[in-house]
Structures are given as C-alpha cells and as structure tokens.
Symmetry: C2
Subunit: 219 residues, 2 copies
C-alpha cells in the first residue's frame, strides 16, 4: 500500500509538473510575442490549457511568471560553435562568426528577446540583466578570447581586445538589425547582409593589421 501511495503522489507530481511546463511554454510564447503588458494571464492560461487559478498557484503573480518564462528561454541563446578546422584562418573564422551572430540576432526568438529586454528594462531590469549575462556577454567573451589568441599568434595586431570585440560585433549588427528593430518597409535581403558581412570582415582585418594572402591572380 505504501507503494500505491508512492505511485499516486509521483503521478500527481508529474502531472502537476507537466502543467507547470505547459504554462511556462505558453507564457514564453505569449510574452515574447506581445510583450509584458499586452499579455494577459487569461490568454496564457487558455493557451496552456489550464485554468487561470492554476497559473497563479504555480507562479504567484504575473511578474514572477514573466521572470520564470524569460529565464527559461535565456539558456536557448548560443551561437553555433566554430568548426575547429578554420580557427587559424581569421578571415574564415570572422566570416563564420559574423554570419552566426547576425542570424542569431535576426532569428524570431533572438529578436523577441531583444525587444522584450529593451521594452521592459526600465520597469523590470532583472529580465534584461539575466539575458545580457546569458547571451551578449558570452558572445563578447568568446570573441575577445579569439582575439587574444590571434594577438598571441601574431595574426592580428590588437591594442585592446575588448574594444575590438565590441567594434566587430557592433559593426555586424549594422543596418540589418536596426531595420528589423524599427520594422521599416525596406528590409535587407540575405544577399545584402552577406555582402555587408564580407565587406566588414575584410575591413576589420585591414584595420587590425592582418596580412592578406595573395589572392591568386593579382601580383
């Protein structure tokens, strides 16, 4: 009989946990889609397939649900990792990072988080600070480390790796990001973004003393 009780409580727990997850998922989706204020607890409960009271018993209030939902999403943001084979070629490596970075920024989820952070950072700084630590700060550190290694290998001549990392990442955001942020009529095409990135990588390497390999034909 103790086994039966055990089973029952386990079952109950898992069912409750299941609902909790469904609520969290629904909340993330709705908050990311509509922002904090325009999202209603009613709507979230309905999408999760539970009653509103169930939402409240799990998460207390709207603020706490918001933090929990965004926190859950923070861990999703990682850039695709660099193929080890190209790490000693700064040109290929930076091109890879540029493309991975802008893809992340322009992805539906990346844009949603960016929007949320900017919209809510004044009233709810915790959210954007969590995301900043879980996203942008990691990317900055990754690029900085890369630049340190290039500096040591004398492939690049960088006086301040942190500044150089910020310059590189900021530059890559470019017109593509602001046009998405502002939802302008004209948006950049993938081809335009690729051309911009290629130009930017070469510009960056020139500015930091990279010795380009002779390009085959010319001299």
């Amino acid at each position: 009989m103790s086994q039966l009780v055990e089973k029952t409580t386990t079952k109950m727990r898992s069912k409750s946990e299941e609902k909790r997850q469904k609520i969290l998922l629904a909340a993330t989706e709705i908050f990311c889609d509509k922002g904090f204020l325009a999202s209603s607890m009613n709507h979230i409960a309905k999408l999760a397939g539970v009653s509103k009271q169930t939402v409240y018993s799990h998460f207390g209030n709207k603020d706490e649900l918001f933090v929990a939902a965004i926190r859950a999403r923070c861990s999703d943001f990682k850039m695709s990792s660099l193929p080890a084979s190209i790490i000693d070629d700064p040109q290929l490596t930076l091109q890879f990072f540029a493309n991975a970075f802008i893809s992340l920024l322009l992805s539906k989820e990346g844009l949603a988080m960016h929007r949320i952070c900017i919209s809510e950072s004044r009233t709810n700084p915790l959210i954007s600070q969590l995301y900043f630590a879980a996203g942008p700060e990691l990317v900055i550190a990754e690029i900085s480390d890369l630049f340190v290694s290039y500096q040591q290998k004398k492939l690049l001549k960088i006086d301040n790796v942190h500044i150089a990392a910020m310059q590189f990442l900021s530059m890559i955001k470019g017109e593509a990001l602001i046009r998405r942020e502002y939802n302008t009529e004209k948006q950049l095409t993938t081809e335009q973004i690729n051309a911009y990135n290629e130009n930017s990588v070469n510009f960056f390497l020139r500015g930091y003393g990279y010795k380009f390999k002779p390009s085959g034909l010319k001299s």
Copy 2:
C-alpha cells in the same frame, strides 16, 4: 461688430490651439516615459490640465494621439552640425560625429524614442518609420555624403560609402548603447566612451586607407 466676432473666434481658436499644444506636450512626455500601453488618457489629460473629453475631441483616440505626439517629437532629432573649419580633417571630423552621434543616442529623448520605436514597431509600424526617416536615415545620408567627399578628395579609399557609413555608425553605438538599452548594472563612463570613440575613429581610418600625419615626436 464683425471685428468683434473675428476677435472672439480668433481668441477661441487660439485658446483651443493652446490646449491642443499642452495636450501634445503632455502626451509626448508620458508616452516617451512609459510607452504606449502603460500611458493612460486620464494621466495625459491631468498633466495637460484639461479634461479627458477635451483630449478626445482634439485627437479622436489614443492611437491618433500617439502618432501625433511622436510625430511632433521627430523633428527634434538633429545632430549638432559640423564646424566648417575641421571638415578637411577626417580624424577630427569623424571624432566630432562619433561624439555627437552617441550623445544623441544616449540622450534622454533619443533613448526614449529608440525604446518606443522598438517596443511599438510591430503593432504600430508608422511610428518607427516616421522616426527612422526623420532621424537615423538623415544621419546615414549625412555621413555617406561626407565619405563621398573624402573619396573625391582622395583622403579615404572607400569602395562602398553606404556600407562604410553603416559600419561607422553601427560601431559607434557599441557597448554604450546596448548597456543603456538593457539597463545593465554597469554602465560605461564618459571617459570610457570617449576612449572607445577615439580608438574606433583611428581604426576606421586605418581600415579605409587614411594616411596619418606624423604625430610630432615619433619619426
């Protein structure tokens, strides 16, 4: 008597117009401070010192008031203009633009508009499109023109001035802007921003083939 009537209606008109301006001013302030959803017509009416119904008879509804208020503010965004004396010195000129640009972005009003545009661009694209045309697009054009002239004077060697302008402006945004956007605990100091800008201008000039003048002592 017709003169009296004239006077009276003029007086009435101007009093009505005065209230309209007060409403607009109050609306701009509150919308910029709290965003669209968190701003209430009650609050705006109170700050303007009129009744809510007066707000409605002037502007119809909240959306139209919002557009009118933001549109009124758009014209405020101009960068301080370049002193003519330094235009032939790219280093000084870019330094000037970098500082003016980041000051504009980080100003209370600039940040507020940026935040509003990003928060509302999905539900109300008109707002951000108006602002984009009145603000960022003008700055991009101004810098592009400058680069064209440097190109013609052979001071710089730029293959694509639009791309170069975006690279320059995006780079200047840098860490300072994102930390403000996200309201992170650590914010950059003016000194850090100045150092970043100086570094960035030099980096930019190197990358686009500027011949630096010998710096006095060395060589």
